[in-house]
Symmetry: C3
Subunit: 139 residues, 3 copies
């Protein structure tokens, strides 16, 4: 049994989903693990992870809109407003989605379904450099 | 340290929660792993996983209702409507719950609490065959 | 490759977030694992886990308020009311957050970001003793 880890940086340009499937696959290819478990962990509380449909871009746009409705930018709703009107909604959106995802590895690949893509979900209005830690264990 | 993986299929009959605890336990029994980590991964973006109360069926019904209210079937809210009024809500419901769950194994069993059951959460209106990948590592 | 597991108990005093980062770090220190994967699993369906900002206490209060708004205590909304008006909302809040979190271990530490803290999120109104299982694998 072996394990590997790395950190990848993801440049975001405001609220929305940024696909990282290929980036993660490329790293996994370099690990030489045929069967095992891959874990993706984002080191932030105002950006998160999600696995979503990778086919129709409208799904991604609708998803972003939904989170805008459920956690609106409205300072009257929050105590924590000093980092801007988008910051507290960003923490809520992060809590509602995933900070970590683990995906089994079979035949040297993540077992993502046909329509599944792996995304960083940026919840802040401005561009950020996001750090994502990858860990793989197996043989 | 050893590992095993498999795929189980879960037949659903429309929106709601379908318990898979026994199915997963039976597979785990066959693995011969006394201590370790079990990972459950669903290969879809319109059905998801959740660990919920396994005692009162009303909890399961109320949970399904809640997700119907929070992500209503209303085409005016979404761009992505070509797969039917239940499809975009299904993606949202999936994003709000889990695509993956990992559960420690102690004494050859998942350490589920007394009231915890493992469920596939179907978010589409029609019946589907859902694929769930299981991975166990340990010794 | 080695692995360890334990159970920690967390005393809560009603709805809100209770940080367990230090408790988990202390246990991890005792494991002697330099690189690997740590999994945190809560054995309940009316309390959950989340990774959130550890700096401004207002974030934590706002987060708790948000979940109060999204899943209100209102018996007219639910079938499952026999365990009190806070019980069904607690199950919903649990489904929306995490029952399990896995965090890579690098240089003998969880790779939490600077502002990330690990929390038990209590969703019931009264004090509870919550059980959290920890599992670490690595070398």
């Amino acid at each position: 049994m072996i394990q590997q880890n790395t950190r990848i940086d993801v440049a975001t340009r405001g609220k929305g989903l940024y696909e990282i499937t290929n980036k993660v696959e490329r790293w996994l290819d370099s690990c030489g693990i045929k069967a095992g478990l891959l874990t993706v962990f984002i080191q932030h509380t105002s950006a998160s992870l999600t696995i979503q449909e990778n086919a129709d871009r409208d799904v991604i746009a609708d998803l972003n809109d939904f989170f805008g409705r459920i956690a609106p930018e409205d300072n009257r709703l929050y105590r924590h407003t000093i980092e801007g009107p988008d910051d507290m909604p960003a923490h809520i959106r992060s809590a509602l989605t995933a900070t970590q995802l683990s995906i089994p590895i079979v035949d040297s690949r993540m077992v993502l379904g046909t329509w599944q893509g792996l995304y960083v979900f940026e919840h802040r209005a401005l561009a950020h450099q996001r750090h994502v830690v990858l860990h793989a264990i197996g043989e």
